[in-house]
């Protein structure tokens, strides 16, 4: 009964989305207030209905209702409750439902927080949101119905993919989707702006919080995914340039560029059509990622069950959304007022450089990801593009980006002098050069490149601190004055400093782990010993343990240093009985400066077990840095000036250039 209710709610949601996607558009074009007002009501109703559907599916999972095909295929009664719940989105149908839910919730959020938007803009944004929602709901109902029944019901289910039975991955998809789907709002704002024919600073101010929110969630989602790959795949690495990872990185890069270019629109009323394009692309790249993961055109360790029919549907949807958006862009964007010329040395010049580099990075990732597909189709050659390509292209492109990152905030708007900015950064420069030299001389003289990259990490951190110190004029004015300046500093500026500095930590962690990790692989019998970087590691025993839905071999490794006991590591190899799948469970001891990382491989008492040990210097900084980066975003989001309800100067602004089409209807202040 409850699954049917969920199914019915989903059908109703589709109908509501259709209404929300059409009538407010008509209302906005005709200046009909009642039709426009329908958008908000419909958005809230749609969110409620999809929430009911999601709750119904969750209920089926929690109670292990094996008359639902989806539950049978992806759950098992012996599974812990938390994984029964996360199992809801650990499969194709459920994850699409989660996607539709987040989309509907974002729509409702626009309806709730967008009270101060001009009526026509709000109506159009909500309608575009709903059109996207229509696509997803129809996709669910027609190709991927999560509520399909099965008769007779089997006694038990097949269980969730063991890889997903892990706290890191369980909460990775919701965060990632909050990011992906969050960009649907910026997309909707971009399309609405093209329909309205106006992009102005007020528009940029409305878009920015949504971009920022999506960006923060995406940052956290990517970090969580990378952390998961680090500790579950057992290879000691944290980023593999896998197509699915790349799929999440591309919208992040586009979103980061958008975040910065929107500032230029807001402050200088320039770079408009570019910003609109980025807003369209950020969401399009999110959809592209979904397509790549689910259609089966590329292989990946993360691949979902693949089905060409679904692939064609998502492709059609991708073409409709992206193609529609870009066609509208090609038609309307040339009529947006161009923003005048910039001085290359100025804040906006620096932001444009940032955009150029970020977009080049995104294109690099896109080409690297799709090249194997293109080549295979054109010539039949199979190649795999992996770390060597990205190390040779992506990494060098980061150098100018990072170099400019610290200089930009020192440049004023409109026109600035480079030299004064650079002299203020001389401390950061000397510290980072010293760090690179020390790294090359002391840590590892073989890899000059790693030492240089390490220096860049230090540059980002020190440069951000110097920038903040100069903002509050620390040590230049009496400290009560600095304190007063600190309190007066807008949250957006504090957020920027945090996010920029945090990037430095990510760089330091990545470089140190990637270039300077130590690795030992030994076959050990109980009682035998190996060592890594000053630690003696003894395999004490390997025992069988019984988990709730798996059996495991667990090794106990005693770690001593200088003869004294240091810690005990217990890596496991779990066999999930229902799926006959083995998963390595690494053991990691961290002191926040380095990870001691152990995995248990194949083996038996006669020949011994394969034990892999890694010492990953600064590895925790990668994820701490990413979390700090997102925190910077949230701090910036809490800035009073960014509140969506904050008074705007919209009314005072002159209208954009004359355009046919969309009315510039009445707007409320």
């Amino acid at each position: 009964m409850i699954p049917e209710l969920g199914h019915f709610a989903l059908i109703l949601a589709l109908v509501v989305a259709l209404v929300q996607g059409t009538l407010p558009l008509v209302g906005a074009a005709k200046g009909d207030d009642r039709l426009m007002a329908l958008g908000s009501t419909a958005a809230l109703t749609q969110a409620l209905l999809v929430l009911i559907a999601f709750a119904a599916l969750t209920q089926a999972y929690v109670t292990s209702d094996f008359s639902v095909v989806n539950v049978v295929a992806n759950s098992h009664s012996a599974k812990p409750l938390v994984y029964k719940i996360t199992g809801v989105w650990g499969n194709h149908e459920g994850s699409m439902l989660l996607w539709a839910l987040i989309l509907a919730l974002f729509g409702a959020a626009v309806a709730i927080f967008g009270a101060n938007l001009p009526d026509t803009l709000r109506a159009r944004v909500l309608a575009i949101q709903a059109l996207i929602g229509t696509g997803f709901l129809a996709f669910l109902l027609f190709t991927s119905n999560p509520f399909e029944r099965l008769s007779p019901a089997p006694p038990d289910g097949n269980g969730l993919n063991p890889l997903l039975q892990d706290p890191g991955l369980a909460f990775h998809p919701p965060l990632l989707y909050l990011g992906y789907v969050g960009f649907s709002v910026t997309y909707a704002f971009a399309i609405a702006a093209l329909l309205e024919g106006r992009v102005d600073p007020a528009w940029a101010r409305w878009v920015r919080p949504w971009t920022l929110a999506a960006w923060c969630f995406l940052t956290l989602g990517i970090a969580l995914g990378s952390w998961w790959a680090y500790y579950i795949l057992g290879w000691g690495g944290f980023w593999f340039w896998d197509p699915v990872e790349n799929a999440s990185l591309m919208p992040w890069l586009a979103g980061t560029a958008l975040l910065h270019s929107a500032i230029v629109v807001e402050k200088r009323d320039a770079l408009k059509s570019w910003t609109v394009l980025l807003a369209i692309l950020a969401f399009s790249l999110s959809l592209l990622g979904t397509f790549l993961v689910r259609s089966g055109v590329l292989t990946s360790v993360h691949a979902f069950a693949q089905d060409p029919a679904r692939g064609l549907y998502i492709l059609g949807f991708l073409i409709a959304v992206t193609g529609g958006g870009l066609a509208l862009y090609a038609w309307r964007a040339p009529k947006l007022s161009p923003g005048g010329l910039f001085q290359p040395v100025s804040r906006e010049g620096a932001l444009i450089l940032n955009n150029l580099l970020l977009c080049t990075l995104a294109v690099t990732v896109l080409l690297g990801t799709l090249y194997p597909l293109f080549l295979d189709l054109l010539t039949g050659n199979k190649v795999s593009v992996g770390p060597p390509f990205f190390n040779a292209t992506f990494v060098p492109l980061c150098a100018p980006l990072f170099a400019a990152l610290c200089v930009g905030p020192f440049l004023g708007w409109k026109r600035a002098e480079l030299w004064p900015a650079l002299t203020q950064l001389r401390l950061a420069f000397f510290v980072s050069v010293a760090a690179a030299v020390v790294a090359a001389a002391v840590v590892d003289s073989r890899s000059t490149l790693a030492a240089v990259a390490f220096g860049f990490g230090v540059w980002l951190i020190v440069g951000s601190i110097v920038e903040f110190a100069s903002r509050i004029r620390l040590a230049r004015v009496p400290w009560p004055e600095s304190l007063r300046r600190l309190r007066a500093t807008p949250r957006a500026a504090i957020g920027m400093t945090i996010a920029h500095g945090a990037l430095g930590f990510v760089v330091l962690g990545s470089v140190a782990t990637g270039a300077w990790h130590l690795e030992v692989i030994e076959t050990l019998k109980p009682g035998e010993k190996t060592h890594i970087a000053g630690y003696d590691v003894t395999l004490q025993r390997v025992e069988n343990v019984q988990g709730p839905n798996y059996v495991a071999e667990r090794a106990t490794l005693a770690v001593t240093t200088g003869g004294r006991p240091f810690t005990t590591l217990q890596p496991e190899r779990r066999l999930f009985v229902v799926q006959r799948r083995q998963i390595a469970e690494t053991a990691i001891q961290t002191n926040l400066l380095r990870d001691l990382y152990a995995t248990l491989g194949e083996g038996d008492p006669n020949t011994g077990w394969v034990i892999r040990l890694y010492l990953n210097p600064l590895a925790p900084w990668i994820w701490l840095g990413a979390a700090l980066c997102a925190l910077g975003g949230f701090v910036s989001l809490s800035d009073r000036r960014l509140r969506i309800g904050a008074p705007t100067r919209f009314r005072a602004r002159t209208a954009g250039p004359g355009m046919t089409g969309g009315t510039r209807g009445p707007r409320s202040a």
Binding site: S273, L312, A330, P334
Partner: protein, 179 residues
């Protein structure tokens, strides 16, 4: 006008990409398929003792007889081999294919018992007990199957079990073309 074209560029790139995606989906290609370096080269050395008692040893001459030959690596302990076995039986009986079977890392008595139970489609059967021949042939596991033309050149290499579709789309046309 150039400015207008510039604004069309994103749309054009999308069209190009979407075209590739659609092509890829329609072509029904398998992205997981691994190419083989063996294709287009002379078949590697073959010098094996026979699996069945009383047979002559297997040599390179078998592969350069002027007739196309199918070389199939199998093992009695391999489940996918069981799945493809009936297809080889049919190829041998109905289509008269010359099939060389090589038992890979398999005890001879177990391999013989397996063939006795399921039927023996192999005109020649060899034993690669230590897997050295498999190494020469670039084997990554069993089953793997090679199609070799009359001059001894490898034309196709299947990793994993051969399917019904492979038989009708590739193997039968290959055998017909060379006869």
């Amino acid at each position: 006008m150039t400015r207008r074209l510039l604004f069309l560029l994103p749309l054009a790139s999308l069209a190009l990409m979407a075209g590739f995606f659609a092509w890829s989906l329609m072509a029904g290609r398998d992205p997981a398929a691994i190419g083989s370096v063996m294709v287009g080269r002379p078949a590697p050395r073959l010098d094996l003792r026979a699996l069945r008692d009383g047979d002559k040893p297997l040599t390179d001459a078998l592969l350069r007889s002027g007739k196309p030959v199918i070389v199939n690596f199998f093992a009695s302990w391999c489940t996918p081999c069981l799945a493809e076995h009936p297809l080889f039986t049919r190829l041998a009986q109905r289509d008269g294919a010359v099939i060389v079977g090589i038992a890979w890392k398999n005890k001879p008595e177990e391999a013989r018992a397996w063939l006795a139970k399921l039927g023996d489609p192999y005109l020649y059967a060899g034993l690669d007990f230590d897997g050295k021949t498999g190494l020469d042939w670039g084997l990554s596991g069993v089953p793997e199957t090679y199609l070799i033309d009359g001059t001894g050149i490898v034309r196709y290499h299947f990793r994993g079990p051969v399917t019904e579709k492979d038989v009708t789309d590739v193997i039968i046309p290959f055998l017909k073309a060379k006869q």
